[in-house]
């Protein structure tokens, strides 16, 4: 538990693991998606070279971000799009509010935007009398349940269809017990169609923004971004600074990688390129910092800004699969979340880089080759240096360093530990010892290797037992 009383990953993960059947189901669903990703990657010639190219393009982008931002802005303006800059969530939300207020709009439809989740935009607008509906089915379901999305691509992957059916029964008046995915989707289609047709404002996220032309691309499978945007009078796009790419042709690389990495599909159903407002429509785009320039200034961690938000790292991470996205208490969860969050609030998210075994699977699936597991290790060093490690941990680590720093102490402590385990095992084999809760302790051998070696090093044929 952190000081503020909010639960940390270990506590939330433990609660998640109380229902083992659900964990198995959640784990299996995400592993299946990882397998689809593998199949799709293996069917794509030059897959590893594509990852390398994407990584290089994003490296180059970050190294010339200043110049590309200026180029992008100039092109946006030329295309008739209004451009805004926001330092943080507060400024971003104020800008959205002012755009809507200027047109007397009090209802908006929103497609997927992790950035606006980070900014808590919906809550901000609701407090000011503006109703926002999330049109992506998964996000809509989460909104009905007043829960944040648990996965950036599959927002309600942790929910069973019966639970979703119950939500629809409660909020949309469907028949109790209805849980068939097709029927539920049809109900949502009808309901949200009406939302699209009646709302004058639409907000989208940005998957990729092209500096060279000033256009931006929004990728969906549902078509919800387009249904909102093309019926709207006011179209707003919220974008993190790092979503830029230098040239139009680079979209070829990224669109070949994105859906394959995310869900094992060669491309999302819709990859819409928004450039100029429709006749009679206004287009606005907000460039948001919210900690990104600070991350840019961290040589060890700036690579995390290359992320294209595919969610592939979450699907492969065994800790994520077996603890659920909501255990990470951050808008972006999983491995990428764990290396982005400490930059946003180190105290609040000090536990996240430790919610990992550093297995490295995430780094291997990342389409832009962010060395996520290496950054998790580096964040641990920073967090401890800044003083956010739990006190008991610091003391035990110092004790360990002292013991292992001296051969004599080490030998004595090692021998003592083995003696304790053998003769006073009840001191260790009890519920207070976290290892012992669900695992037996290792058996105690009669002597250490060191002791055996001293006796036998010259007798090269001696058998140990």
């Amino acid at each position: 538990m952190s000081e503020a009383g909010t639960k940390d990953h270990a506590t939330l993960a433990k609660e998640f693991n109380k229902d083992e059947e659900r964990v198995d189901w959640h784990d299996g669903a995400l592993w299946w998606i990882r397998q689809k990703r593998d199949r799709s990657a293996n069917q794509t010639p030059q897959w590893e070279e594509l990852r390398e190219a994407a990584s290089s393009i994003k490296n180059h982008l970050l190294s010339h971000l200043h110049e590309y931002l200026l180029q992008f802005e100039a092109n946006l303006i030329k295309n008739g799009v209004k451009v805004y800059w926001a330092n943080d969530a507060q400024e971003h939300n104020e800008i959205v509010y002012s755009i809507l207020k200027a047109k007397n709009i009090d209802q908006m439809v929103k497609s997927k935007s992790m950035l606006t989740e980070e900014c808590h935009l919906n809550e901000y607008l609701a407090e000011r009398g503006i109703d926002v509906i999330n049109s992506d089915l998964g996000e809509y379901i989460q909104q009905l349940d007043e829960e944040p999305p648990s996965h950036i691509v599959l927002p309600c992957i942790h929910k069973r269809k019966e639970e979703i059916g119950e939500l629809f029964h409660e909020h949309l008046g469907t028949e109790k017990g209805l849980s068939d995915p097709t029927l539920l989707t049809r109900v949502a289609r009808q309901h949200l169609r009406n939302v699209f047709l009646t709302r004058r404002a639409a907000l989208t996220g940005v998957n990729f923004a092209v500096a060279e032309t000033g256009e931006y691309v929004v990728c969906t499978n549902e078509g919800n971004a387009d249904m909102g945007a093309h019926l709207s009078e006011v179209q707003i796009a919220s974008m993190g600074l790092e979503k830029l790419i230098p040239e139009k042709k680079h979209l070829g690389v990224f669109l070949r990688l994105l859906a394959r990495s995310a869900i094992g599909q060669p491309i999302t159903i819709y990859s819409s390129h928004y450039k100029k407002p429709r006749k009679g429509q206004e287009m606005h785009l907000i460039l948001v910092d919210a900690g990104r320039t600070r991350q840019l200034g961290r040589p060890d961690f700036r690579d995390s800004l290359k992320c294209i938000k595919c969610g592939g790292c979450m699907n492969t991470c065994p800790v994520y699969r077996k603890s659920g996205g909501l255990s990470y208490h951050n808008t972006i969860s999983g491995p990428i979340g764990a290396i982005l969050a400490p930059n946003i609030d180190m105290k609040e998210h000090a536990d996240l880089p430790f919610a990992s075994t550093l297995c490295g699977s995430c780094s291997n699936v990342c389409p832009v080759k962010i060395p996520i597991h290496e950054q998790l290790y580096k964040w641990r060093q920073v967090i401890v240096k800044e003083g956010y490690a739990a006190n008991t941990k610091a003391l035990s680590m110092k004790a360990m360093a002292w013991t292992l720093g001296s051969p004599d102490v080490y030998t004595k402590v090692g021998k003592a530990g083995r003696w304790f385990l053998k003769h006073l095992s009840f001191t260790v084999n009890n519920k207070l010892n976290p290892w012992y809760r669900q695992r037996d302790m290792p058996e105690v051998p009669k002597e250490s290797f060191e002791e055996w070696y001293k006796k036998n090093k010259d007798n090269k044929d001696k058998d140990p037992k």
């Binding site: 299946w32 010639p45 030059q46 070279e49 390398e52 190219a53 393009i57 180059h60 970050l62 190294s63 971000l65 200043h66 800059w85 330092n87 089915l137 998964g138 379901i141 599959l154 927002p155 309600c156 992957i157 069973r160 269809k161 995915p181 097709t182 989707t185 049809r186 289609r189 047709l197 499978n221 549902e222 078509g223 919800n224 387009d226 945007a229 093309h230 019926l231 600074l241 042709k249 070829g252 690389v253 070949r256 060669p266 491309i267 159903i269 819709y270 990859s271 819409s272 390129h273 928004y274 100029k276 429709r278 006749k279 460039l287 910092d289 320039t293 600070r294 840019l296 200034g297 700036r302």
Partner: protein, 201 residues
């Protein structure tokens, strides 16, 4: 200093040392030695599009499309097209219409700029759509694709698209879909429930 200047200054101060852009020539056609066109490319497009859940008919000329539409769609409902050649079986799209007025369109029939073999998607600019909303709001979407416009990969697609002179354009890869409920695939989310391609030689 206003926000814009503050952010730009922070970016300038914090950005890493320059690294070069990679050369993308190696990806042409999906790899060295691969063809840029031909029956193999066409077949790949057909197989992948059908694999996604799209319906596809190969026809010799546009006229055959009229019959197929009559056989496969409810012509008593509202059909809209941007192709003057199909003006007899469907309502010809009229520009300057309010996008909301298309909410009752059963079938929209439009023509693609090009198609991509590796992922089964078509590319359409807004002039091909008529109205931007049309290919999304219709219950069913039909797209005419000329075989000669099929390219192997996204790299060739962007080569043809270039900087582009459109206000809106998009790749469309099949019927709209979602798997948000327990990963069960459902065709027909918010966009069209089905997508049919008429592939003309």
């Amino acid at each position: 200093m206003n926000t814009r200047e503050k952010i730009l200054e922070a970016v300038l101060n914090n950005q890493p040392p320059a690294t070069p852009l990679p050369d993308l020539a190696m990806f042409r056609n999906g790899g060295p030695g691969r063809p840029s066109q031909g029956p193999g490319i066409v077949q790949q497009y057909i197989d992948i599009f059908r694999g996604i859940g799209g319906q596809l008919f190969c026809v010799d000329e546009l006229d055959a499309v009229k019959t197929l539409i009559g056989e496969n769609f409810d012509t008593s409902k509202r059909l809209v097209t941007t192709l003057p050649e199909l003006g007899l079986i469907a309502e010809l799209y009229q520009p300057a219409a309010d996008p909301h007025s298309f909410k009752d369109v059963e079938l929209a029939i439009i023509r693609a700029n090009l198609a991509v073999a590796e992922n089964g998607a078509v590319w359409l600019t807004e002039d091909r759509m008529g109205q931007r909303i049309l290919p999304f709001i219709c219950q069913h979407l039909a797209v005419i694709v000329d075989t000669s416009t099929i390219v192997p990969t996204m790299h060739e697609a962007y080569e043809q698209i270039g900087v582009g002179n459109y206000g809106f354009g998009g790749f469309i890869g099949g019927p709209s879909k979602t798997a948000d409920i327990e990963q069960a695939l459902v065709l027909g989310a918010h966009g069209p429930i089905t997508m049919t391609v008429f592939l003309i030689k």
